[in-house]
Subunit: 318 residues, 2 copies
């Protein structure tokens, strides 16, 4: 978010881009101090590694304009990106925001900026840089930077590890189903879709208590368990779906397929005190199974009966 | 560039996105190893700070499809972003690429990927992460990560410092003028537009020899000198335009206004050996003036006559 602009963008309204940058910097205040050089300079704790990831939220693909307020759109884009830091048990050190801003979104910029600020506040981090381009569809591309000493990894799951999941699943899928049908989303579902919480503090707590592997749920529990078992060398895990923590009385298969949850799946070779977790964070932590060595991937049961693995995503997708 | 995808993108062709990721990872080879977790883990040299910046190149705004090959488009987007690291005298540690890929660009993905790889090779760095979304216009959003012990800063210019510029200016502006007129661009101009060189090694050399402030030329020499003098507390600088290093016989005012050069302006309190620089890099280094304390900003002369400051950018813009 420097004061420089691209040579070609002038003809297309660089004055407006400057105004947009000014407006965002005003709304962000101290959350975006230190901007103005060619790049931001950030310090990591001595001995820590840098963790970095980039994620894009594009209108019409990742959200529909009439589903969310501008503030929720800004919040959600950045919160989803921060979830990748949680999945590594990394502490955020800053985010960079590349905004693709169509003309017809210009009046919503304050709301979008405030939502981005909300997510940055929630994570206790700062905005370290940005970029605004004129585009045809709104897009928010977020780079998250974090620091970590001992990251949780997808490939660190071992046979015998217990798998845990944070929170209650199903809300985002249920909300999107209602919204797609043109209905008003049930508030408890809508909240989980519009305001996902990157489990940053929870991840640090879990890593401190013996978790070694993790993934965040963006594709759905079954699909992401599949990624985790595959990355770790073709392990297996059996899941009894009736025990999945769910919002309200949502169907187990719906909860298992609900994406964009941004809850965490962690694997740990030792038992984690789920009640202490719950008292600490006001959030459930549920043991959902044990990793096995059979290489069969994710095997699902419902009330003791084997049910077909939905094949992850395409079948059960939203 | 993880194997995860967004819940909503399935309906719009997540299979294609997976194919695109696979194709890019194949072409990038060892330049993109270590991808596959929720985020990349990178190590910085002990004692160094992290430097980060994000930059977007969007079709129709930052380039026209028929002006450049897909390979040049990929190269140029990443090279331009890397130039922000050069302006801080930072060493690249990795780049993250968020690609907005329309259907009608799908067949050009190999070329785009190869161009991104070219820029990464030129900088001696690696691709540490990425993201692909379906969009309506091609966009390449690049986050550059670097490490630095003593960054060059925009606000470090002092009265009495000599200002130097690398290379010869004017090529990109001349090329774009020809291209806009529907003509074939003169090769020497086109090369400067299509294949800008981020001056990473040059910046380290200059910082080692006493440079303390820097900015890269993206808006044009006059505009970027203005940013530098303003950031450093309202200094002044007088520039004799006839002495500007130019490509061919380009007009001095054209060279002064040419943007997207990605050459460096550096300020130094001591004299830098321009001939040694030239022998080392095969590139000119030219003293263009001395910073003054008058707070008058950038004052231009042509053959000894004061000429109006074009006001930076809007007036002289491409």
């Amino acid at each position: 978010m420097t004061s420089k602009r691209d040579a070609h963008s002038v003809a297309l309204g660089a004055g407006r881009e400057f105004d947009a940058i000014r407006l965002l910097l005003e709304r962000w205040g101290v959350r975006a101090t230190g901007i103005g050089d060619d790049a931001a300079v950030l310090d990591l704790p001595r001995g820590d590694s840098l963790v970095a990831s980039v994620d894009a939220a594009v209108e019409g693909i990742h959200f529909e304009r009439d589903w969310l307020t501008p503030r929720e759109i800004g919040y959600r884009a950045v919160a989803a990106a921060l979830s990748d830091l949680a999945a590594m048990a990394a502490r955020p050190v800053g985010v960079l925001i590349a905004l693709g801003l169509p003309d017809d979104w210009h009046n919503d910029l304050e709301g979008i900026g405030d939502g981005i600020g909300d997510a940055v506040d929630y994570a206790g981090t700062r905005i370290a840089g940005g970029n605004i381009s004129v585009t045809r569809l709104l897009s928010i591309t977020t780079t998250v930077l974090g620091s970590v000493y001992a990251p949780l990894r997808r490939d660190a799951l071992r046979a015998g590890d217990t798998l845990y999941v944070t929170g209650r699943l199903g809300g985002p899928r249920a909300a999107i189903r209602e919204l797609r049908a043109g209905r008003v989303a049930t508030p408890v579902y809508r909240e989980r879709f519009a305001r996902p919480r990157p489990r940053l503090r929870e991840a640090l707590w879990l890593a401190d208590r013996g978790a070694t592997s993790a993934i965040d749920i963006s594709d759905g529990l079954v699909a992401d368990l599949g990624h985790l078992t595959a990355a770790s060398g073709k392990l297996s895990i059996e899941v009894e779906l009736s025990r999945l923590p769910r919002i309200d009385a949502l169907e187990p298969l719906d909860a298992a397929a609900s994406g964009e949850e941004y809850e965490l799946i962690v694997g740990a070779p030792q038992t984690i005190d789920t009640q202490l977790f719950e008292r600490t964070f006001g959030l459930t932590l549920t043991a959902i199974g044990t990793a096995g060595a059979s290489g069969d991937g994710v095997m699902l049961h419902l009330n003791g009966e084997r049910v077909a693995n939905p094949g992850g995503y395409d079948h059960l997708s939203l």
